[in-house]
Structures are given as C-alpha cells and as structure tokens.
Symmetry: C2
Subunit: 175 residues, 2 copies
C-alpha cells in the first residue's frame, strides 16, 4: 500500500531531481491537491505515460507551450529558448523524454512499496481547447510547481490493478 503523503513526496523528489540535474532548473513545489477525474477543456502541452504492474496508473505533465519550449532548450542546449521558438516535434520529444525520466524516477521510488512496475511509452498532446480524460473514477494527485514564475503541473493517478497480476506465476504443479 502507499499513502497520499508518500505519493506527493515522491512526485516532488522525482520532479526536483530531474529538473535540477538534467535541465539545471529549480522547481518549487506548491500545495498538492487531489481530484476525481478532472475533465474539461485544456490548452497547452500535456504528456502521459502509463504504469502497470500490481498497481496501474498514469503519470502526466501539463504546461504552457512556452514552458514546453523551455524544457526542450534546457534539455538539449542547457540554455533558455529563443523568443521565436515554437512547439515543434523536437519540443514534444523533449517533453516526452522529461516525462519518461520523472515518471521513471517516481516508479523506482514506488517499487520499494508496490513491487515491480512497468513504464509504457509516453504520448504528448499539444493543442488548444481539447479535452483529455482518463477512464473511471480514479483520483488524481496533482503537484503544481513554480519555475521562475512559470507553472508545471505533475499529476499521477494510481490504483491497485483490477486485472489478475501475472507478473509472478505460481510454480507449475508436478504430479
């Protein structure tokens, strides 16, 4: 089992570590909150990566197009983006890569309590006024981070798997 406080603390550590070591950016966590399946229109860049094992879930980053460009330029060149930088395939790949690192880091922390988990391939969405919805009534934990006045939300949804967990098969019975 895993508590809410632990999830929040793992999100803060995983995000802080990746941003400071890989991007040279300091992220200040704000007050975490939980909500049940937030729907409604969204703008900007949203990424998702799946977690699967004895528990299943999704890790997600959500930010403005400007902050997505900042992630990309700091990851690839260690500097601030050009003023004319637009969200292109390279920027979306950088956001996917950082999502993979943060959620991978978070997954490693979770595995101490929940056992082995797999990480799927990240997907990144960029658009205006789209709706992104996860199925079911899972609770999402969101930690808003501040980075020089810009905001990044890191969100996680996690629940015990309802499918039979095949990761550890019983030993075959020898008659």
């Amino acid at each position: 089992m895993i508590g809410q406080d632990e999830i929040v603390s793992f999100i803060c550590r995983a995000t802080g570590e990746v941003f400071s070591t890989m991007l040279g950016l300091e992220m200040i966590p704000g007050d975490a909150y939980t909500e049940s399946n937030p729907a409604g229109p969204t703008d900007g860049v949203v990424s998702f990566v799946g977690l699967a094992g004895s528990w299943v879930g999704t890790g997600s980053l959500c930010c403005t197009p400007g902050f997505a460009c900042k992630i990309s330029s700091h990851l690839l060149m260690g500097e601030s983006p050009r003023p004319d930088q637009a969200v292109d395939a390279e920027v979306l790949d950088a956001v996917a890569e950082v999502t993979n690192m943060i959620v991978g880091n978070f997954k490693t922390m979770l595995e101490e309590s929940l056992g082995p988990l797999g990480l799927s391939i990240p997907t990144v969405i960029f658009g205006r006024n789209f709706t992104a919805r996860s199925s079911g009534n899972e609770m999402w934990t969101t930690v808003p981070f501040d980075c020089d006045g810009e905001r990044l939300d890191v969100r996680v949804c996690l629940a015990p798997s309802r499918q039979p967990h095949h990761a550890i098969r019983p030993a075959p019975v020898v008659m």
Copy 2:
C-alpha cells in the same frame, strides 16, 4: 519475438471480437500499414493505453466524433446514437472502456509469445487540430476498419523494453 503479420492478425481479431460481442457491430479490416511516429494535426477522438512488461508499447483508437458517439450508444444501450448526441464525458468513458477491452484482448494474445504484460489506464483526447505524438522512433502498425461506411483506426506501437525487466526476479542465492 513477434512478427508484423501476427500483430496485424491480433489487432483484427481483438477488435472484431469486442465490436461484435459487446457492441453488436461488424468491423471490416482494411489494409494494414506501418509508419514511424506519425505526427501532425489530428481531429476527433483519440484514445491511448500503455502496455508494459518485457515489451512496452501503446494501443490507440482513433475515430470521428460521430463514430465515438456510435461506440457509446451501442455499448450502453445497444442502439444507434440520437442525431443530437454530442461528445461528452459519457462518450469519452465509453471509448476508454472499449479501448481497454480491445487492447486487453490484444495483450492476452501477445502474452503467449511475450510473457506477462501490464495494461495501464486509458486516456482519451477529444479536440480539433491537436497534435498527438509518441516519443522516439517506434514503428506504429495501423489497421483501418470500416463499419457501415465509418472509419476507426486501431494502432499499436510495440518494442522490446530498454529498461531492465523486473517482472521475473532471479531466485535469491542461499549461501
């Protein structure tokens, strides 16, 4: 290992079974094709669910808003949608549920060759002119289906996991 032909055949079987048994709709598969990380603007409804284990990947459905409403009304009421049916949370949940069933079915077929895989929680996107991109240069296999003149694309991306696979741990060495 798993071949391209097998993936296409699993997608066809998994999709056909779910639509015929759960929705009472017949899906006619068209010519499958593969492409490397298709990007670019998209309209309509796109769902994603992650697969993780010794192989990792994503399963995705892509259709028009009208076909999403058809999925929802056939799943929930076994009938055609009202003409004024709009894409709302209920419709997105129905698409998520059908994605879960199809990719879950596909996963069961894969497991015979690839061993146990986990399935994450589906996400559904609805919007106009958004970009959905997966990271890396993975190849996607797409099977376009026809259902009474309407189209549904079922897409799968699958690659061996680059992370150490923890699902089967070596037995502890007793000294």
